[in-house]
Homo-oligomer: 198 residues x 2
DNA sequence: TTTTAAACTAAACAATCGGTTAGTTTTGAG
DNA sequence: CTCAAAACTAACCGATTGTTTAGTTTAAAA
């Protein structure tokens, strides 16, 4: 949750020099590149361009900032999902979503993978429930969108739909891992093969 | 590198109470479960059952211990590769390797993923070259074994071999990611679909 | 048994971690 | 203008990080 926003009838002595949405995006990118533990408050201060005090008054704690970063990440990812939902193509739409994800993770030569899966493993036990929850929520959403797309082919049984949706979902995990290591040609080739039997 | 081993003509006042191979394996498992940063020397002391001093005299630093853990991990992974090499099956042999990997990562209900890919993202920049090197070395090895297996089908062109080997390699990355999140049924289903189009 | 050097224990190291707080600056309502 | 309260700066907090070191124990060679 973001910091307290005063209502207009109270006096408002000073305005923030920074935009919380903007700085949280910078924090998100830092977590995405370096993971949770490796990203120190010092690094966050520098990257976000604001003081520690400001970070704490806006986000409460490092964990709080990280959670806000995850929300920010998820919002960006949701835009890709919305594009997929809006697409008139079914299987080809999903394929395009795979390509969109590569572009989304790209930094210079390689991608940053997926922020959630990147950090899910290293996070302390008391935060794991939260991130696991976020992850399962997200995977369910994506799988459902995949399934809806696949159902446009009415010749497919519901069992097959379920199976193929799971298959595509896990393939997405492979892709997100792979963006950090493999080049564009290899990734394109990977996607081509994934969709061969759909 | 392990600690100094004195030659037999020197006097040997006292023997180590622990076996370096054994304790490095315990360290490896801890890194595998928790990642690099989250795993503290304190946790390592407890898990390895030896004192900090002993860890430092044997492995020099936390980084040194981690590198040794990676080597240990790679050795275990190599055993799976050797099994695959020895197999008379070609594509089915690779499929079995996928199943073997799931069993390899399994802890209780879910898997631990791949130690290298789990930690590659969170590691500090000065260590990244090393782990990236290890990773690319490993991926090249695995890809070559896959390619050799695929070549047993002489109807396939070298272009197709190359393409399919890459495809299988990246699919392995997906699998390693997926072991941490998806259940056995979903993983089996995933593997089934991967091999459908080969 | 004596000797000696490595293995061990435990306390302490500086540095950094996430987080706080006292004090100053700023700004807009009254 | 005045002034109150939030935004800001910077120094500081205890705890924990990885690492070292002084001192003790131990076991094998002489």
């Amino acid at each position: 949750m973001f910091s307290f926003v005063p209502s207009s009838n109270l006096i408002m002595p000073r305005t923030k020099k920074y935009n919380e949405q903007e700085v949280v995006e910078k924090a998100m990118n830092l977590f995405w590149r370096n993971g949770y533990e490796t990203t120190s408050m010092q690094m966050l201060e520098k990257e976000m361009g604001i003081n520690k005090f400001s970070i704490y008054s806006s986000f409460g704690s490092k964990d709080g900032l990280f959670m806000e970063s995850l929300k920010c990440y998820k919002q960006k990812l949701n835009k890709l999902i919305e594009t997929l939902k809006a697409s008139s193509d079914d299987v080809m739409g999903i394929k395009q979503y795979f390509y969109d994800f590569i572009a989304f993770t790209k930094v210079t030569d390689f991608g940053k993978g997926c922020l959630i899966t990147n950090t899910a493993n290293e996070i302390r036990e008391d935060c794991q429930d939260c991130i696991k929850e976020l992850l399962s929520q997200f995977t369910n959403d994506v799988k459902e969108v995949f399934a809806t797309k696949l159902r446009q082919d009415t010749t497919k049984s519901e069992t097959i739909i379920e199976e193929q949706a799971d298959y595509l979902l896990i393939s997405m995990f492979g892709l997100s891992s792979a963006t950090r290591i493999f080049n564009k040609t290899q990734l394109d080739n990977y996607i081509k093969n994934i969709f061969k039997n759909l």
